[in-house]
């Protein structure tokens, strides 16, 4: 008599068969987009502080003992300008700049022959670039038009990158006496644009 041996199946609580859908790993994609516009910002204390900067270059007494324009006014101008600490940054690679110097003029006093109530000069503005180099843009107050130019590179970041000095301070004639006025005012307008 033959006997037929049937082995019982092993009992297990582990997964024996799993539907394919339970192992399914499905994916989806989300696209994130954004933009940074062309802009220039003034930086103060390491943080953007707006779109304008200002400063005062105090020259004090403009005349010497003879009443004429004192010879060391340029040195006074440069020393005061060095303390301005101007920093501007732009997101673009070739910002456009403009420098427009205006004469230092008496508020009310008028002048006659032999006298002058206005001082012309040349403003020199130097823009520091990265990784190295700089761009000098100059404008004389006697010129009605501003001087514009492209920097040709990115403004250096992380420190003061715009410096100013003056040159060729003069009256109409070297022998002119400056008329008395408690207030002589001039200004230098510097514009930095992200592009032309």
């Amino acid at each position: 008599m033959k006997k037929i041996v049937i082995a019982a199946l092993a009992v297990s609580t582990a997964l024996i068969a799993v539907p394919a859908s339970a192992q399914q790993s499905v994916s989806g994609d989300i696209t994130i987009t954004g933009s940074v516009g062309e802009k220039c910002l003034v930086v103060t204390g390491g943080a953007p502080s707006g779109t304008s900067f200002s400063g005062t270059i105090a020259l004090g007494e403009l005349s010497d003992a003879t009443g004429k324009l004192r010879s060391d006014v340029e040195a006074t101008f440069d020393a005061a300008a060095a303390a301005l600490a101007i920093q501007v940054v732009c997101t673009t690679s070739n910002p456009q700049v403009s420098v427009d110097a205006n004469a230092i003029t008496a508020a009310t006093a008028t002048a006659v022959t032999g006298y002058d109530n206005s001082i012309d000069y040349q403003a020199n503005v130097t823009f520091s670039l990265t990784p190295s180099g700089s761009k000098l843009v100059s404008n004389d107050s006697a010129s009605a038009a501003a001087t514009t130019d492209a920097l040709g590179g990115r403004l250096a970041s992380g420190a003061t990158n715009i410096t100013i000095d003056g040159a060729n301070f003069r009256t109409g004639s070297a022998t002119d006496l400056l008329v008395a006025d408690p207030t002589y005012t001039g200004h230098i307008l510097i514009t930095v644009a992200p592009s032309a």
Partner: protein, 214 residues
């Protein structure tokens, strides 16, 4: 001798008759034995586990745009719907580790990669929504060469796989419920110390995966 033979045959016949209707347990009793020509009942225990169904009923597929993100901050959410009959895990990876502008080499002080944050909100069919305690900086979710970050964010990064340990875990089933991936971009997510972002268009891709988690 002939009388002796007759007696033996009779005994064998009686033994076989008694065994006709039942299976005999031989040895350890886990092995059933049925003699040829006979029938019996063997009980074979069979157990199995159904892992459940898990995927996206509606996969995340959106474009989230953040114009002028260097000065304007915004949070946007991309919805998706899970279809999981049990627990699941949802994982995320970033292609670029941030919003990237393909501007090439840049001088010192300028950058073309901006960080943002990512969070998940997983909604079960019943119970509380599951989310990360803190949103993850996207550089921690970069698919290759990620930055170091919290353990929770490191767990979210990658591709979810069946019963794996990658991804934010939702302990309950989820079906027909809206879940979300939240993306925040703006001045608070950007690191100004890294440099000034150059102008132009930026982009990144987040890949979201889901898998069952037993």
């Amino acid at each position: 001798m002939g009388a002796r033979a007759h007696i033996i045959i009779a005994a064998m016949a009686a033994t076989l008759t008694a065994s006709a209707a039942t299976a005999q347990c031989v040895g350890s009793c886990t092995t059933a034995t049925i003699y040829e020509g006979n029938s019996g009942v063997i009980q074979l225990p069979v157990t199995a586990t159904v892992g459940g169904r898990c995927g996206f009923a509606s996969a995340p597929s959106a474009t989230l745009d953040y114009p002028n993100f260097d000065v304007v901050e915004a949070t946007q959410s991309a919805p998706f719907v899970l279809d999981c009959t049990g627990p699941s895990r949802v994982a995320v990876t970033s292609l670029n580790g941030g919003l990237l502008n393909n501007s090439g080499a840049l001088p010192s002080g300028y950058v073309n990669l901006a960080s943002y944050t990512v969070n998940l909100r997983l909604t079960p069919t019943s119970g509380s929504q599951v989310t990360l305690a803190q949103a993850c900086p996207v550089e921690v979710l970069k698919a290759t060469g990620p930055a170091s970050g919290s353990a929770a964010c490191a767990e979210v990064r990658g591709t979810a796989s069946f019963n794996g340990n990658v991804g934010l875990r939702l302990g309950n089933a989820s079906s027909g419920q809206s879940s979300f991936i939240d993306v925040k971009v703006g001045p608070s997510t950007i690191n100004p110390a890294a440099g000034l972002l150059v102008n132009g268009d930026y982009s990144d891709t987040l890949t979201v995966t889901v898998a069952a988690s037993l």
